[in-house]
């Protein structure tokens, strides 16, 4: 279970890096032209600042690229690891005014009708957290698919973990 999530995260990170690398060369070329006309210490400070800003940009881009929140069995509590990601999405939504559909899902254990309710409960937990970070009521819509739309079609614990999720879908 953990391995597949790590794999997913790795894929997400790789995609993010690939996306960033296209804009990077332009940045470094401007950096070097600035460097030549400034004193060393100022240049270092500036570079550090830029590196920090770049790291922050990348962190946010990474988090914005992650749009799936995973849940524990029969739970709708948002795990600590997803709080930062939701905060970043909330700020992005506030800044852009974008609409987001929150799709709630469950694994196949238990009954489909109960799982439809569980999927809604999870999506509402995410909606509530976005709300506390200032996202307005009009920007989100909750749709539950219960166990009807699994991300992974198998029947193992790993599949179940991948299926217990809420997906953020920007409209």
């Amino acid at each position: 279970m953990k391995r597949s999530i790590q794999f997913l995260l790795a894929v997400a990170a790789a995609l993010t890096l690939a996306a960033c690398s296209t804009t990077k060369p332009a940045d470094t070329s401007t950096d070097s032209s600035v460097n030549s006309s400034s004193s060393d210490t100022e240049a270092e400070a500036l570079a550090r600042q830029r590196a920090a800003a770049e790291a922050e940009r990348q962190r946010i881009a990474n988090l914005l690229n992650s749009t799936t929140i995973y849940f524990d069995y029969d739970q709708d509590t948002i795990r600590g690891e997803f709080v930062e990601m939701l905060e970043v999405h909330a700020k992005h939504m506030q800044a852009t005014g974008k609409q987001v559909v929150l799709e709630g899902h469950a694994d196949e254990r238990g009954t489909p009708e109960y799982n439809l309710a569980l999927g809604e409960r999870r999506a509402k937990a995410v909606e509530q957290m976005l709300r506390t970070y200032g996202v307005s009521v009009e920007q989100t819509e909750v749709i539950s698919f219960g166990e009807e739309s699994p991300a992974s079609l198998g029947h193992s614990e790993e599949d179940f973990q991948l299926n217990r999720r809420v997906e953020l879908k920007y409209q």
Binding site: T111, A117, E120, R121, I143, F145, E148, H155
Partner: protein
């Protein structure tokens, strides 16, 4: 142009409607030691035309039905001592030696192209006082010694379209004559099949109770859930995501006419017809969280039965229409509760186990059958409502979507076998079960029809 394409699609849809798919296969995996031995002799076929055989093997359909009930064990054809087709051919000693409780034999005669006269009898080789039921007019059977062993003497007219159905009715008559309880072979099941390679992967089917005669009644790009038969067996209610989120639809099976009856904010789910067919219990989350409602189908007015911040779902009507059971996690974990049709305080019904859900009343109203978790596995279990005793019926681990045969003999449900989602049946005492396996996609959400007249 757009309208033209739309009408093409519509024609395509109608076409899809009428095309019957290949049958889903049924095979038996578990035997049963107390099944009664019975001989079903292949029927003789007579035809004056070029037709060499009837559209289906009438005797085999009867034998397979009886075997699927778990109550009968039809003799292998190679072990039959003789192959009689009329009462005159019967040698009682042959069948006593074989040790069968009963013998079915008969004939199929093509009377005109596509029309068949099917004659069949049921005899008890031991009991010469079997004499049988009233629909045999006096004097219509031969006055020979074997006649006193007759339990059934029947004829039917069938055509190519209803030939299998006629055989299921015959199996019901034989089952009732031998067990004293009504048969449920001439019934249907509705279920959802997911064929992920199809453009519209989510498909609602209706098939005969043996899995044959599949007819697709609806197909969608988005999920379909929870089919439920109307008490007159003419309509299906189900949940469809065709418009992006869950809505409750009622569809007339014969005409294909569809009405969206619940499309409230939040989700719309778990439709359950009242026994009189005039109301429908359903679960709506329009007021913020899932609650049980009863809709009057004529006026579409809603009456809310539950008021609780927890999940309340999966209503099932008591056969007398006066109360319902439902699933709620108001106590922390999903358990079964019971509430009056007029609302009021709900009473907890299940106490054993951490997860009980999806309960259905048995047709006599004395028990419920539900999904019951044991050691992390989800089984089918029944609970006697008087004693509270729980009987776990299945060994499989991912069982769900219970539906009970109208004669209470069997439960159909969905489960996972290997890596495939399949339908399976289990006898009400848990002693006889078998999968109904699809040759193609995942099958789930079975619903057993009421008796079809």
């Amino acid at each position: 142009m757009y309208n033209f394409i739309k009408s093409l699609l519509f024609i395509g849809f109608l076409f899809a409607f009428s095309v019957a798919k290949a049958e889903i296969q049924i095979f038996i995996t578990e035997g049963r030691d107390d099944a009664r031995p019975i001989a079903v002799v292949p029927f003789k076929f007579e035809s004056s035309s070029v037709v060499l055989q009837p559209p289906h093997d009438f005797a085999k359909i009867i034998a397979d039905d009886l075997a699927r009930s778990g109550k009968f064990n039809p003799t292998e054809l190679s072990k039959l001592p003789s192959k009689p087709n009329t009462l005159n051919d019967i040698k009682l000693d042959d069948w006593k030696t074989l040790g069968v409780d009963a013998v079915v034999y008969g004939s199929v005669k093509e009377t005109s192209p596509g029309t068949y006269l099917v004659a069949y009898d049921l005899i008890d080789p031991y009991n010469d006082k079997a004499i049988f039921e009233a629909d045999i007019e006096s004097g219509t059977y031969p006055i020979i010694p074997q006649a006193s062993h007759l339990m059934l003497l029947k004829t039917k007219v069938a055509n190519n379209d209803n030939f299998r159905w006629a055989a299921h009715i015959a199996a019901d008559e034989i089952y009732e004559a031998l067990t004293g309880e009504k048969g449920a072979f001439a019934t249907q099941i509705a279920y959802v099949e997911v064929n992920r390679s199809d453009a519209r992967p989510y498909q609602l089917f209706v098939a005969d109770s043996d899995g044959f005669n599949q007819k697709r009644v609806f197909a969608s790009r988005r999920p379909i859930m929870s089919p439920a038969w109307s008490p007159d067996s003419e309509k299906l209610a189900y949940v469809s995501f065709e418009n992006g989120r869950s809505e409750i639809v009622i569809q007339n099976i014969a005409t294909g006419t569809r009405d969206v009856i619940a499309s409230y904010k939040g989700f719309n789910s778990a439709p359950a017809w009242s026994p009189d067919g005039r109301k429908m219990a359903m679960v709506l989350s329009k007021d913020g969280n899932p609650e049980i409602y009863v809709m009057d189908l004529a006026s579409k007015s809603l009456n809310r039965l539950t008021r609780h911040y927890s999940i309340d779902t999966e209503p099932s009507w008591h056969p007398n229409g006066q109360s319902l059971v439902f699933t709620s996690d108001r106590g922390g974990k999903p358990q079964i509760y019971r509430v009056s049709v007029n609302g009021g305080e709900a009473e907890r019904v299940t106490f054993e186990g951490r997860y009980n859900a999806g309960a259905e009343f048995t047709p006599d109203g004395n028990a419920i059958v539900m999904v019951h978790q044991v050691n992390g596995n989800y089984h089918i279990a029944s609970q006697d409502l008087k004693t509270g005793n729980i009987n776990v019926l299945t060994k499989s681990r991912l069982d769900e979507s219970i539906s009970i045969a109208p004669n209470s003999s069997m439960v159909i449900y969905s489960t996972v076998q290997g890596r495939q989602k399949v339908l399976s049946t289990i006898s009400m005492d848990g002693r006889f079960g078998m999968p109904i396996s699809s040759t193609t996609g995942e099958v789930k959400a079975p619903a057993w029809s009421p008796y079809i007249l």
